[in-house]
């Protein structure tokens, strides 16, 4: 189990605003193993993008630790060594704004190569052509500007840029949620192929559970700054435990009767996600939970390993105090 490429431990990221402290990420722990895809799923406002940005170094953590291949990297990007930045890359949700519209595709793809001093100008141009070929775009696209490309093509350029420095870990922040399904399918398949060819590890941020069913190795559910359930994909979908997971799964609109059959019994969705400025006491989900009881509003639930690799934070699954579980060695 020591091939963890990324470990996040008790990560906290708070923002101070005039209306109070936003507890965007509150004691989140998870890890990404080499070559796997960890799906981090949550609704808007759950803090999943903040986790992504903190891992990349766009935010510095309020507390907690982020380790990349065992090395502590809990600091902003300006204080990270270049080699580290080369290894961790990110693809953003909206390729319309993440690509500079005043640059050509060649300039966009060359920039990471220049920053990391990879090759001379002729090598770089060759490499740009190679990258375009990889994402199946014609070579003459290097002279185009982003606005003359379709949404899907722009996202492919953004992916090519992320791959330019031969990273080890790529954070995908909703890479296909702005795109049509027919294009999403193409991009997802491409990402899966790159993962295999380049031995990449993905932290895949999304709100789309159907997509995660087909893409990820493990799934983690986030709500209001905390993780509530983590499990290997098969277990996550065949045996969801947390009431929030069940509510999410039963809310997904599907197209096939077979899909309807694998959804858990309908849990009627109630209420809305509370403001992260005013986090409810105890379990953050108790205001919308269908199985709430007295303890939920008083005590934050502890992590329970229900079956191997399947962790849940819920008072319905109280931690049994036996030595194997309370040992510190258990980690997500």
């Amino acid at each position: 189990m020591n091939n963890k490429i990324l470990e996040v431990e008790k990560l906290r990221k708070f923002f101070t605003t005039s209306r109070g402290t936003v507890r965007a990420v509150d004691e989140v722990s998870f890890s990404v193993e080499e070559g796997e895809t960890l799906g981090l799923v949550g609704e808007s406002g759950s803090g999943k993008s903040t986790v992504a940005y903190t891992v990349v170094g766009l935010h510095s953590p309020t507390s907690g630790q982020i380790r990349f291949k065992g090395e502590d990297i809990s600091r902003p990007v300006s204080k990270r060594p270049k080699a580290l930045k080369q290894s961790i890359q990110i693809v953003f949700q909206d390729p319309g704004t993440s690509l500079n519209s005043r640059r050509t595709i060649q300039q966009i793809l060359e920039l990471p190569l220049k920053v990391h001093h990879l090759g001379n100008s002729r090598d770089r141009k060759e490499r740009v052509g190679e990258l375009l070929e990889r994402v199946e775009l014609p070579p003459d696209y290097m002279y185009k500007s982003p606005h003359s490309l379709g949404g899907g093509e722009r996202q492919m350029v953004a992916i090519a840029r992320a791959l330019a420095t031969n990273p080890k870990l790529v954070i995908l922040d909703e890479p296909t949620s702005a795109l049509d399904v027919s294009i999403q399918a193409k991009i997802i398949n491409m990402l899966l192929r790159f993962q295999e060819e380049m031995k990449l590890s993905y932290l895949f941020i999304t709100h789309d559970l159907s997509l995660m069913r087909n893409v990820s190795t493990r799934v983690a559910i986030m709500y209001l700054g905390k993780i509530y359930e983590v499990a290997p994909t098969m277990k996550f979908f065949s045996n969801p435990l947390h009431p929030y997971t069940k509510m999410l799964l039963s809310s997904i609109p599907v197209v096939l009767p077979e899909e309807e059959a694998v959804k858990p019994a309908k849990i009627t969705s109630e209420g809305e996600i509370p403001s992260p400025v005013n986090v409810p006491p105890g379990c953050g989900f108790h205001t919308r939970c269908s199985e709430v009881n007295g303890i939920c509003s008083q005590k934050i639930p502890e992590m329970m390993e229900v079956e191997p690799g399947h962790f849940v934070w819920c008072h319905l699954f109280p931690v049994v105090t036996n030595p194997t579980n309370s040992e510190k060695g258990v980690s997500v």
Binding site: E43, S44, G150, G151, G152, E153, D180, V181, S182, I183, Q184, A185, K186, I188, N189, H207, D208, L209, S210, L211, R213, N214, V215, T233, F237, M247, L248, L249, S251, I252, P253, V254, V255, L256, E258, E259, V262, K263, T268, S269, E270, E272, I273
Partner: protein
């Protein structure tokens, strides 16, 4: 089945731009029965919203222009109506809910002000101010907003996305329309909130007997919202059927491609998707507009537009693959 409420026939729309003419709608045919919930599915840029704007005659013109076709509301052509008559249609006959509730609401007026002006406009002065306010709060309660009296005095920024969309639904239904055009009303919402809003819409529509055209890019959502589904591609309706029939037996290669490209909750990976992208409207492909991307394209597909054929029980498709079956 019942009486026809709305019938769109052979609708063509063009946009004049600097580079030439964008031929967007290419003969759209669609009908809605009284009390029916119709789904219109298609990817971004296929002309769903343009079609709806024609129905309400709010297509910006210029550059937009309806070059051919008819839109019959109770056998009366909307396109030939005068502006006064059109105001009456918008006041009582047809309402619309837009995709982005934040853009649809005016940020500098309270929810109450905006809702009251809609009701006042629809009632044509037959209601007193007090009655209007009472009815406004009533509609807010009907869309299950908590504490409607407080929300009445709130500005849109003080509400969450889901609550704003509920306000828009309240506005659209406050005039008791016969037909509701819902343009991607849940696309900007989270899945649990989407679930709530869809349930609410279904409940209200059923209670009031309103007919609905529900526009979406999501096949899953349309399955929950519609009795009959039309699939649109690049300015044409390419397939239309009862919901159960369409999902059990999709015929058009585009519909099949869409269904395959959707990630399924049952797993099994993701199909390769549909190659290429939606065509340029400046110079759209000849014949069937899907033929450059179609895995089963034949020679005739690029030569003539496939006619709509009756393929099965209440199931129409516009594709040459199905010509021989039941040509009527």
């Amino acid at each position: 089945m019942g009486e026809t409420l709305l019938e769109i026939g052979n609708l063509h729309v063009e946009f004049k731009v600097y580079e030439g003419r964008l031929r967007v709608l290419n003969g759209v045919n669609l009908s809605v029965q009284v009390g029916e919930r119709v789904g219109l599915v298609g990817e971004a840029g296929c002309g769903k919203t343009t079609t709806m704007k024609c129905v309400l005659k709010i297509l910006p013109s210029p550059p937009g222009k309806i070059t051919e076709g008819k839109i019959l509301l109770h056998d009366k052509d909307v396109l030939t109506m005068g502006s006064q008559e059109m105001q009456r249609v918008r006041g009582h006959g047809i309402s619309m809910i837009f995709q982005d509730p934040t853009a649809a609401l005016n940020p500098v007026f309270t929810v109450g002000d905006q809702l009251m002006s809609v009701i006042k406009y629809g009632s044509k002065g037959s209601l007193s101010k007090k009655e209007i306010k009472k009815r406004a709060i009533g509609t807010l309660r009907e869309v299950q907003l908590p504490d409607p009296e407080r929300i009445f005095t709130n500005y849109p920024v003080q509400l969450s996305g889901g609550m704003r969309q509920r306000v828009c639904i309240a506005m659209a239904l406050s005039t008791e329309p016969e037909l509701l055009l819902a343009d991607e009303p849940t696309t900007s919402l989270d899945v649990t909130i989407q679930d709530q809003v869809l349930r609410l819409l279904n409940e209200l529509v059923e209670r009031h007997g309103t007919s609905v055209i529900f526009i979406t890019h999501s096949l899953g959502v349309v399955r929950e919202m519609a009795d009959r589904v039309y699939v649109m591609y690049a300015g044409n309706i390419i397939e239309g059927a009862r919901k159960e029939e369409l999902f059990a037996n999709p015929l058009h290669p585009y519909t099949l491609g869409l269904m395959n490209a959707l990630p399924k909750l049952t797993g099994g990976g993701i199909a390769e998707g549909i190659p290429g992208r939606i065509p340029e409207y400046l110079d759209p492909p000849s014949g069937c507009r899907f033929h450059p991307r179609c895995p089963r394209a034949m020679q005739q597909c690029s030569q003539s537009i496939p006619p709509v054929v009756y393929a099965a029980d209440d199931h129409d498709v516009a594709c040459f693959l199905y010509r021989g079956e039941t040509d009527e």
